[in-house]
């Protein structure tokens, strides 16, 4: 596709806004215990920040920020974090995905809270990577590229 000359206003605004979207996404992920939010929502917003840069600055420039080849390993890593948390609970004598048995802190309830945080991070990484990867693949497969 023939790109028009980059519009300076679009590139400046998107570059300015993108870090704030990322910051808010991290807030949504890590504050998901006390307010609406969590891994799925925060991961999608992180992906939105990356896709904004991809839309406005083009594929070549945005590779400096997040390479397309990182997406699939990161997605697998997210699923592995989730699965590994469940497996650690199994190793400490509980059932699969029973975080109360992982000795993070004192009580069972707090262990569960920190276990939930771990798997939220895993979900967020996986969702973010897969969304960016789907966008990249759809762009790569378009016929007039």
């Amino acid at each position: 596709m023939e790109r028009k000359k980059d519009n300076p206003i679009v590139s400046l605004v998107s570059r300015t806004v993108s870090p704030f979207i990322m910051l808010f996404a991290l807030y949504v992920i890590f504050h998901g215990h006390y307010s609406p939010g969590g891994g799925f929502q925060g991961g999608t917003m992180l992906a939105a920040a990356f896709i904004l840069i991809r839309l406005s600055l083009g594929m070549e420039t945005s590779q400096l920020q997040f390479k397309s080849s990182w997406a699939t390993p990161l997605g697998s890593a997210g699923v592995l974090i989730y699965f590994g948390t469940g497996l650690v609970a199994l190793l400490f004598g509980g059932n699969f995905l029973d975080y109360g048995f992982i000795p993070f802190t004192g009580t069972v309830a707090e262990n569960r809270s920190i276990g939930i945080l771990c798997i939220e991070i895993g979900v967020a990484i996986a969702v973010m990577a897969i969304m960016v990867s789907i966008y990249d693949d759809l762009l790569k497969g378009s016929p007039d590229d």
Binding site: F40, I134, L138, G141, P143
Partner: protein, 127 residues
């Protein structure tokens, strides 16, 4: 009668959207339009679940120390929200798969119209 209407019009809007999605899915010939219809259908189901979980005078399912947990009528039903939360993200991912299939179909047969596509596929099979 009026109470019945006020209690059910939310469901009827979801059903209207559902019929709109079904119309797009089975009547339109273009594959992209079919896909848009499918997405509208999916969204209508999400709206239906969220509408069915509401309670008048209740608040979001986040524990408030002032309200406490003794009376469950003070919090809306958290279960449909959880199910739909994952359904939205999975819906986006599966829509990506559907778009990828449409792109590969277009690159191979150079058309998205259903009747033309069927003709070309038949010709392709005969050869």
């Amino acid at each position: 009668m009026i109470d019945f209407f006020l209690g059910h019009y939310g469901y009827w809007f979801a059903i209207l959207l559902m019929c709109l999605g079904l119309y797009g899915t089975i009547m339109k010939k273009n594959l992209i339009k079919k896909l848009i219809g499918m997405t509208i259908f999916q969204t209508s189901i999400i709206i239906f679940f969220v509408a069915s979980s509401s309670k008048w005078g209740a608040t979001v399912p986040i524990l408030d120390e002032k309200i406490g947990v003794a009376n469950t009528a003070k919090y809306i039903n958290p279960l449909p929200h959880t199910l739909m939360l994952t359904a939205i993200v999975v819906g986006v991912a599966t829509m990506g798969v559907a778009l990828a299939l449409v792109i590969t179909t277009y690159l191979r047969y150079k058309t998205l119209d259903e009747s033309v596509l069927l003709k070309r596929m038949k010709k392709d099979n005969d050869n």
